[in-house]
């Protein structure tokens, strides 16, 4: 545990030098989204599932923010600390364990996601998009989707020799997830054949849970199934990360 916190401290030391840039972007980006899509596009859309469009998309944008932060922080930064700065190799020469390296980074991502989620929730409340006291559980959902995404993506990044695979990851997983995992319209609008792809994405489960919490309606599937799926991805991802980091650092 002490080792994990020592590594978290390293990441926070670096973060404190440019925190305002990331906090600003995690504040300004959702506001722009809410205004342009929620209010702008929303005025043409009318209602979805009985809700005005703004209230419909806000929970999805919240979850997708957590998803994107998780991906962003577990791609280039992880590869960079293996390949370019060799920070993990420096840690490896100390009493730190590989688990400390993994947990330290995941904990850092959790802090980043939590800050962004809370800021976004405050903005959402100002725009009147919060309709249920269950909104208080949304930071937990964001934390879970962030771990379910960041853990396997970190493992993937730890196995790479160069960054060319990231373009594929963004093009074929991140962008399609953001567009088709229920953030902007219900996945039931998708053709039956491609719907399983949305169900496979961790983002869809988080979007539906956040939406249920913020609107006070039940999610499409039982809560336990949505949560269970994210937990399986998170645990599997951590296991894979342990394998990938070990492979890179041990011989």
């Amino acid at each position: 545990m002490a080792g994990t916190l020592a590594i978290l401290e390293r990441h926070l030391t670096i973060y404190k030098r440019n925190w305002y840039a990331s906090v600003f972007s995690s504040f300004i980006l959702p506001v722009l989204f809410v205004i342009s899509i929620g209010i702008g596009v929303g005025s043409y859309v009318g209602t979805v599932d009985g809700w005005e469009y703004l209230s419909y998309i806000v929970p999805g944008v919240l979850a997708s923010g957590a998803f994107q932060t998780a991906i962003g922080e577990s791609t280039f930064p992880v590869l960079g600390d293996f390949k370019w700065s060799r920070a993990y190799h420096a840690m490896r020469a100390t009493p730190l364990r590989i688990k400390d390296m993994i947990f330290g980074w995941q904990l850092y991502i959790q802090i980043r996601v939590f800050i962004a989620s809370v800021i976004f929730l405050v903005v959402s409340a100002i725009f009147g998009a919060v309709h249920s006291p269950w909104v208080v559980v949304t930071p937990l959902i964001c934390a879970l989707v962030a771990l379910a995404t960041a853990a396997p993506v970190s493992a993937f990044s730890a196995g790479l020799e160069n960054d060319s695979y990231f373009a594929l990851l963004f093009r074929f997983i991140v962008i399609p997830s953001t567009l088709f995992a229920g953030v902007f319209f219900p996945v039931t609008q998708l053709p039956l054949l491609v719907r399983p792809l949305a169900y496979a994405s961790p983002l869809w489960h988080a979007v539906e849970l956040c939406r249920a919490a913020m609107l006070g309606t039940p999610p499409p599937w039982p809560v336990a199934v949505h949560v269970g799926y994210l937990i399986v991805l998170a645990v599997g991802g951590l296991y894979w990360a342990d394998r990938a980091y070990s492979k890179r650092l041990k011989d």
Binding site: A2, G3, A6, I7, E9, R10, T13, I14, R17, S85, R86, A87, H89, A90, M91, R92, A93, T94, P95, L96, R97, L249, K250, D251
Partner: protein
């Protein structure tokens, strides 16, 4: 401190697939020693160092570091080692000072104590005025000094230096040697790898010569020179003639003749006497240099190859 060796290895082997990097070596390093691995690139020095540093698992054989088993107690052992790796891995996102304080935290050292040691170590490696700067603008020599300071932050029982001065200019090397010499005088146990003879002669009390994953000789620099080489070496050049063509002609002068592509080495206890004999036989080399034997000669005699090619 126990009298137990800090490093103890018996028949230590490291294989990567079919390739045997370290092929059954025996080692013992005592507290307070400055111990060196000398050998060309690919001799198995770095693989040995990585096993001693508990970041690489031996394929077979026995290895004990600080009296512990590196596989079972790796984390505990690493807590008492200071490592200066061959490739710099300073943290480019942190300042010079933060590189030390952050690293101190990795060893569980309290923050205030980490700051105190960082200030002291920057003083020691003469980087105090760079404390708040980034790492990237530092010169190669400064980065290496910072890496050594970082390796000292946990007050290690054993410091491992993998080719500490490779790639540095002569001035930076001398400054680094001087700092390492001070550590050695303070009683720190140093283990280093090098392919520089002068470095081994300057810093090591005792060294092993490695070639092809094996130890081919062991002893103090003086002992190795006395055992394997002669007191003096004469370097003869014969203009455009190939040095090898003179081997027969000079047969019998000195103890041994070694033709290199550009010069002929003549090993003799009496260099001047050997040169007179060359002239007496009627040969006039274009240049003659009589010098004392070095570890370079030892290496050449032992392996038939030069160290840095």
């Amino acid at each position: 401190m126990t009298q137990e060796p800090l490093i103890y290895a018996r028949d230590l082997v490291k294989k990567f697939g079919d390739f045997t990097a370290v092929n059954g070596i025996d080692l013992e390093v005592a507290p307070g020693e400055a111990f060196g691995f000398l050998g060309p690139n690919g001799a198995g020095k770095s693989s040995t160092m990585r096993m001693i540093g508990c970041v690489s698992t031996p394929t077979s054989g026995e290895l004990r570091i600080l009296g512990m088993d590196p596989v079972r107690d790796g984390s505990r052992i690493r807590g008492r080692l200071g490592v200066c790796p061959q490739l710099d891995n300073l943290d480019p996102d942190l300042t010079v000072f933060e590189n030390l304080t952050t690293y101190a935290r990795y060893f569980g050292i309290p923050r205030s104590e980490g700051r105190r040691r960082a200030a002291e170590l920057l003083e020691f490696v003469q980087l105090t005025e760079k404390a708040d700067g980034k790492v990237e603008p530092l010169s190669g020599g400064m980065k290496r000094r910072l890496t050594i300071a970082r390796a000292m932050v946990n007050e290690p029982d054993l410091v491992l230096l993998d080719e500490p001065t490779t790639g540095l200019d002569p001035q930076a090397r001398h400054l680094l040697w001087e700092r390492l010499f001070r550590l050695k005088q303070a009683g720190t146990t140093l283990v280093l790898t090098t392919h520089y003879m002068d470095e081994a002669e300057q810093l090591c009390d005792r060294l092993v010569v490695m070639d092809g994953g094996k130890i081919v000789a062991e002893g103090s620099p003086r002992h190795l020179i006395d055992t394997y080489s002669t007191k003096e070496v004469v370097e003869l050049r014969f203009g455009s003639d190939t040095p090898a063509s003179y081997v027969d002609k000079l047969e019998g002068i000195g103890d041994r003749l070694d033709p290199l592509p550009d010069r002929l080495l003549l090993y003799s206890a009496d260099g001047e006497g050997a040169v007179s004999e060359v002239h007496r036989r009627g040969y006039t080399p274009s240049s003659v240099l009589v010098r004392r034997s070095t570890l370079e000669d030892v290496f050449l005699i032992l392996t038939g190859r030069t160290l840095v090619d």
